[in-house]
Symmetry: C2
Subunit: 343 residues, 2 copies
DNA sequence: CTGAAAGCGCTAACAG
DNA sequence: CTGTTAGCGCTTTCAG
C-alpha cells in the first residue's frame, strides 16, 4: 500500500552486478558493451520493469526537453483539434510529445500555460495568441534558440514565425460570391472580441468585396457573438432589421453553426449564407452550405515544419506563412436575393 | 547566436549575494525570509528572467510530476476533444498539465505513448484503450499508486477505474424509437474494428431492442466503416439491398456524418435515422437528426474526479462509472416506414 | 570494454 | 532568518 519506489538505474546495476554507467550505455546505445553484459542488463530491466526517468536524463543532458508546448483556445473546437492532430502527426517521428492546454482566449491563462511550458524546458512553443496577450517576455527565450510559432494569428511584442489562413482574400472571395448572386445587403457575423485578428481580417475582406461592388458599408449589418447561441441571436437580430440583409457571411465555424441553426429554426430558406471555415455536414444541409474552407492540416504541417526547421538551426528572418483558403460552392450562397418573402 | 544558458537558481543567488536555498525559499514560499531579501531575490529573478526548472525540482522532490498523460484515439474527433477539454477544466486548479497524444486506435502507438508518459513520471494516466492493447504492464504502476483511468472503453489486463457511456441502453432506446415509429427493417452502421467495445455494446443494444419487438436479427443489415467515406458507402450498400432497411442506426458520430451525407446526396428523405452521439448542426438538417446524445463533459469530469480521488488516497475497489446517454428526438427517427419508394 | 567520480538544477535536512 | 551539505536519477568525463 505504501507507494513502492520505482526502480532506478542503480537498482538495475545492482541486480546485474555492474555499474550504473554500463546500464546507461546499454539503454542509450552509447559506448561499447559486451554482448553478454548487454543481455544481462536487458533481462534485469525487464525483470524490474525499469523505465528510465526522462526528467533526470534531461536535467543532466541540459538541452531542451523532447516536448512541445501547444496553447490553443479550445481543445473542443474542431478547427483547432484538426490543427493539433496535424502538428502531432508531423512531429511524431522526431519523438516529440505534446504538452497541451486551452487558453479560452484569455491572456492570463495563456501566460500561465506558456510559463509552465517554459519551466518544463519545452523544445518548441506553439501558441494561438489571445487578444491582449503580450509576448515580449518570450524574447530572451527566442534569442536563446527556442523556436516560437504563432498559429492562426500573429502574436504581439515578438518577431517570430507565424502561420495564418488567407483570411482577407478568403473572406473577400466568399462575399464576392454572394454579390455575384445579386446580394447587396449582406450581414457579417463575427466572433468576439472585435479586435481579434481573424475577425478584423475577415471583416476587412468583407468590406473590400463590398467596396469593389460599390456597395456602401453599413455598420448596422455587422454583428458579433461569443458562441453559437450568440450567433443565433445575432442572426435573428439582423433579420429583424427594418431593411434586413438578404445574405449572411459567417466569420468562423461557430458563427456558421449559429446562423444555420437559427435559419433552420425560423425556416428562412430565402437567406443566402457563406461561412468562413468548413463545418461537418455542410453538404447535407438544404441548401448545402457554401464555405471558404481553411486547411487545418496544412496549417498544422506548416507550423510543425517551421518549428522543426528552427530547431535544426534555421536562423533566417521570421516569416509569416499564409495558407490559402478555398471557396467551396455548395449552394447556400445562391439563394434568391429577392429579400424576405414572409416573416 | 550560441544558445545562451538559461539562468539557474545559483545565478540568481550569486546576483543577490545570497545562498541558493534562500532563493528557493522565496520562490516556494518555504521557510521564513526577511522582507528585504525577499524583494532583492524577486528583483533578481525578474531581471535575469529566471524560471525554475520544474524537471530538476521534480527529480529532487521525488514524487510524481504535475502532469497527466492522456491518450485518445484522435485529437480531431469532436467527441474526444470535448472530453479532453472537460478533463482539463477539472484538473486545472490542481495545477496539473496535460501531456496528450493520439493513438489512432493502434495498440503500438498507444503503448509508445503510455511508455513515454510513464518515463516522465506523470501523476495520472488516462487512456482511451485501443482494441487489442493489453494493459497488464501497467499493473506495477497502479500498485505503486499511479491512478489509471480508462475512458470510453474498459481496458484489458488491468483492474482499474473506467468511465463509459450507457452504450447498450442508449442504443436500445434509440432503436426502440425507430421501432415505435413502425420500422422493422433497421440497418446498423458501426465503426471498426468490430471487436471495439463501444461497437459491440451498441450493437447489443440494437439487437436487444429488435428482440423486444420480436424482430429477427438480420446480419445483412449490419455494416461497418472506418470513416465518413466508408459510412457513406455502407449506407449506399444497405439501401441497395433487395429488401432494404427503412431506417438506419449510426453507431457513432462519424458514422452519422456518413449516413446523413449519403442520404442527402441521394436525396433519400424516406429513410429514418437515429445516431449514437450528437453532432453539430443536427437540428438544422431536414429532417433534424434524432440522436442518442453522449455527455462528453460529464465523462471528462468523472474521469478527472475519479483520478484525483485516487491521487488523494482513495483505495477503494476499482469501479466502472456509466454516464447516461439521452435520447434527443428531433424528427429523423419518425420518417414513414413505408419502405423505399423509388431507387 | 568497464567503472569511479563529479555534476546537471534543485530541495531536504540539518545546522547555526 | 540564513547557509551548508547531501543527494534525487541520470550522464559526462576521465581513468582504468
Amino acid at each position: 500500500m505504501a507507494a513502492k519506489r520505482r526502480p532506478t538505474l542503480a537498482d538495475v546495476a545492482r541486480e546485474v552486478g555492474v555499474s550504473a554507467k554500463t546500464v546507461s550505455r546499454v539503454l542509450n546505445e552509447d559506448g561499447p558493451v559486451s554482448a553478454e553484459t548487454r543481455e544481462q542488463v536487458l533481462a534485469a530491466v525487464a525483470k524490474l520493469g525499469f523505465q528510465p526517468n526522462l526528467m533526470a536524463r534531461n536535467i543532466r543532458v541540459g538541452g531542451p526537453d523532447t516536448t512541445i508546448g501547444l496553447v490553443i483556445p479550445d481543445l473542443a473546437n474542431p478547427f483547432f483539434g484538426a490543427v493539433a492532430r496535424s502538428i502531432e502527426d508531423t512531429v511524431r517521428d522526431r519523438g516529440l510529445t505534446l504538452l497541451m492546454g486551452s487558453s479560452a482566449d484569455d491572456p492570463d491563462r495563456e501566460r500561465s500555460l506558456t510559463d509552465k511550458f517554459l519551466a518544463r524546458r519545452v523544445s518548441i512553443l506553439m501558441v494561438v495568441p489571445s487578444v491582449g496577450a503580450d509576448h515580449s517576455h518570450l524574447k530572451p527565450h527566442r534569442a536563446a534558440g527556442l523556436p516560437v510559432v504563432f498559429i492562426d494569428r500573429p502574436g504581439a511584442g515578438l518577431a517570430t514565425d507565424s502561420v495564418v489562413s488567407s483570411n482577407r482574400d478568403g473572406s473577400h472571395e466568399g462575399v464576392a460570391h454572394l454579390i455575384a448572386h445579386g446580394h447587396r445587403r449582406i450581414g457579417f457575423i463575427g466572433d468576439l472580441p472585435t479586435k481579434l485578428y481573424t475577425r478584423r481580417e475577415r471583416l476587412a475582406g468583407y468590406r473590400s468585396a463590398l467596396g469593389d461592388a460599390d456597395i456602401p458599408y453599413d455598420r448596422s449589418l455587422v454583428a458579433s457573438a461569443h458562441d453559437q447561441r450568440g450567433a443565433e441571436a445575432a442572426t435573428s437580430k439582423l433579420l429583424g432589421l427594418a431593411d434586413p440583409p438578404t445574405a449572411l457571411f459567417a466569420g468562423n465555424n461557430i458563427m456558421a453553426l449559429g446562423i444555420v441553426a437559427e435559419l433552420a429554426r425560423s425556416k428562412r430558406k430565402d437567406v443566402a449564407v457563406v461561412a468562413f471555415d468548413d463545418v461537418s455536414l455542410a453538404e447535407a444541409l438544404e441548401p448545402a452550405l457554401t464555405v471558404v474552407a481553411q486547411d487545418p492540416e496544412e496549417i498544422g504541417r506548416t507550423v510543425a515544419a517551421t518549428a522543426l526547421a528552427r530547431l535544426d538551426g534555421d536562423r533566417s528572418r521570421a516569416r509569416t506563412v499564409t495558407v490559402p483558403t478555398r471557396l467551396i460552392v455548395r449552394g447556400s450562397g445562391e439563394q434568391p436575393a429577392s429579400g424576405a418573402r414572409e416573416a
